[in-house]
């Protein structure tokens, strides 16, 4: 696979101290990559630098091998979908979509045909004569995506395009975007603060924190093996407990785990809620004793809070059938099937 977009040692600092530094990233052709992080982590700064709306302090940005860092936005082979206010309310949908093509002096008949095609692609055929104000929020964002698609950009940039929509619609839009990407084979860079969105959409996820990259990996790998404590906290739900590392063993109460990272001394042990097995009673030899504090049904699984005494409260996901055997205040044994350890600092 060829590299479509390459960011090399990008830095941009604001007077407030926020910004990014030392960002390097290669995006393959046809890949959908997500920049994920909390607000203020610099993900939007990177995206706007690619689009040409910010001038980086240093570093280079190459698209299809050509440096674009000196070009204004209108000359770059990128196209951006913003969080909101993408459309121009005084123009019809047709004029909104055709604006860029008219600037490119495309013949009228071709414009008409291209607009019709792209409206079919985003499932809004026949919307040409409407005004943006007549469309719902989800439809407006579809038109914004369509306008970018029309320009056949080398890289499509998406700046939290679905964050203003409600949960259900957001879910639908993600699926549609995935389908459009499969159909068109476009290279996309997607910015979001929603880890669930990143997990479900991406080929690869770039987790950012305070202006630097914490980890770049496929969703599965990020979920299974978060490299840093920060990533472990940010992606998915996670319980954190104190443990001790002794040479090749991690010790937590009566449980032992292999010490793959060769840590020593006090460590933070992270356990996914689905990797906890709860058994009634405290007779079991392995595992930590605790009492059930709360049970909440979340759709097809249940979240059980277990009070481990000094070790704090952990949350475990259990199948709904299993929960029927449990009750509040019950003594249980919590065993972990898989843990990840981080050094304690």
């Amino acid at each position: 696979m060829s590299i479509q977009l390459s960011i090399r040692d990008l830095s941009k600092r604001y007077k407030t101290g926020e910004g990014v530094s030392g960002i390097s990233l290669d995006v393959n052709k046809g890949e959908l990559i997500t920049l994920l992080g909390p607000s203020g982590c610099g993900k939007t700064t990177v995206l706007r630098s690619i689009g040409g709306f910010l001038e980086p302090d240093s570093g280079d940005i190459l698209i299809e091998g050509r440096s674009v860092v000196k070009l204004p936005p209108e000359k770059r082979p990128t196209s951006m979908v913003f969080q909101g206010y993408n459309l121009w309310p005084h123009m019809t949908i047709f004029d909104n979509l055709a604006f860029g093509l008219k600037i490119r002096k495309m013949p009228k008949a071709e414009i008409r045909k291209a607009v019709e095609e792209v409206l079919n692609l985003v499932r809004l055929p026949g919307a040409e004569k409407k005004y943006p104000g007549q469309l719902s929020g989800g439809q407006q964002q579809r038109i914004a995506v369509a306008r970018s698609l029309l320009l056949k950009p080398a890289v499509l940039l998406l700046d939290e395009p679905f964050s203003a929509l409600d949960a259900k619609l957001r879910h639908e839009m993600r699926e549609e975007l995935r389908e459009i990407q499969t159909e068109t084979g476009l290279t996309m860079v997607f910015v979001t603060h929603d880890q669930e969105e990143a997990l479900s959409l991406s080929d690869r996820i770039v987790v950012m924190n305070h202006g630097h990259i914490e980890q770049i990996a496929a969703p599965q790998d990020i979920y299974d093996a978060p490299e840093t404590l920060y990533v472990a906290e940010f992606i998915g739900k996670m319980n954190f407990l104190k443990g001790g590392a002794q040479e090749d063993k991690l010790v937590m109460g009566r449980m032992e785990f292999p010490n793959a990272k060769r840590l020593s001394g006090e460590v933070v042990v992270a356990v996914r809620p689905e990797d906890i097995i709860l058994e009634p009673g405290t007779r079991q030899e392995a595992g930590l004793p605790g009492t059930i504090k709360q049970m909440m049904i979340l759709g097809h699984y249940a979240e059980v809070s277990v009070d481990l005494g000094d070790r704090g409260i952990i949350r475990a996901f259990q199948p709904r059938d299993k929960v029927k055997e449990l009750h509040l205040g019950q003594s249980v044994n919590a065993a972990f099937t898989k843990v990840i350890a981080y050094s304690n600092n």
Binding site: G51, M80, F82, Q83, W88, I103, R147, S148
Partner: protein, 274 residues
């Protein structure tokens, strides 16, 4: 309090009260004025005049001074509007793109220009103008008129420009438009309703300005409202009524035109404070 209002169908009561207020304060004096302007003979206790006549219209329109004052008023209003646009629109665009709480600045300048005693301000300006040789000049009158409208001419377009989100400008650049083209095709058309409302307001305000004109423009620059005072003092009420109608007519026409051109929705969104 709410609970009592609710019991008797608040909405209807309010609509009725609004209508009453509107009629008492605006419609009935104006109707009375129209009747007076076309009256020939009218003795007091009667509701309508005995005779209808156009005699006062003839009188007013034949007076040389009046015709001149109408021309002068419109000339000044046009100059004030044009100059205000040139001065205020770029400022409004700049304000719209800076992040600051618009409503606070708006309120402050509102209190400053509206609650501040105009007589005090005008006198101090007149004193200054006297030194600068601007008394009894067209420029002086135009400047005094502009003081009244500077605030609205800045804040209404600012609110209008603010409704053009930077994402809307940026996505236009993104699809290939140059900065100039973005301003011409996106920013200006979207802000136009607000700019038009502000300009109409400026024009009408200048037509009506009397106090500042009186202090700065006398004796050579006698606009419609100034001439009005002497008419009221020197001639019977009917002449004043006729002139009053002439003064009011352009307002009503311009307001209706602006209303048509700019839908109520666009107008109010152009006036939102955030």
């Amino acid at each position: 309090m709410l609970w009592y209002f609710r019991a008797i169908g608040t909405r209807k009561i309010i609509e009725f009260l609004l209508l009453i207020v509107f009629i008492v304060f605006f419609v009935s004096p104006l109707l009375n004025l129209v009747v007076l302007a076309f009256s020939g003979k009218w003795t007091y206790p009667d509701l309508l005049p005995h005779q209808w006549s156009l005699q006062w219209w003839k009188f007013v329109l034949q007076e040389d001074e009046i015709a001149k004052s109408i021309g002068l008023s419109f000339l000044i209003a046009a100059l004030v509007t044009a100059l205000s646009i040139v001065l205020c629109i770029p400022a409004a665009y700049a304000f719209a793109r800076i992040r600051f709480p618009l409503s606070k600045v708006f309120l402050f300048s509102f209190l400053l220009t509206h609650a501040f005693p105009k007589m005090g301000l005008y006198v101090s300006i007149a004193v200054l103008f006297y030194k600068l040789g601007l008394m009894n000049t067209l420029l002086g009158v135009v400047l005094v008129h502009m003081i009244n409208v500077l605030m609205f001419m800045t804040w209404i377009p600012t609110a209008a420009f603010r409704n053009v989100h930077s994402a809307q400008e940026e996505s236009a650049r993104d699809v290939g438009a140059s900065p100039f083209r973005v301003f011409r095709s996106i920013t200006l058309p979207m802000a136009l309703p607000g700019i038009i409302v502000a300009s109409v307001f400026t024009f009408l305000n200048s037509l009506d300005e009397a106090q500042g004109t009186f202090l700065v423009g006398i004796p050579d620059y006698r606009t419609m409202p100034i001439v009005m005072y002497s008419i009221i003092a020197d001639f019977p009420g009917s002449a004043g009524a006729v002139f009053s109608i002439i003064l009011t007519a352009p307002t009503i026409i311009l307001l209706l035109a602006a209303q048509r051109f700019v839908s109520a929705d666009v107008m109010s969104s152009g006036f939102q404070l955030k």
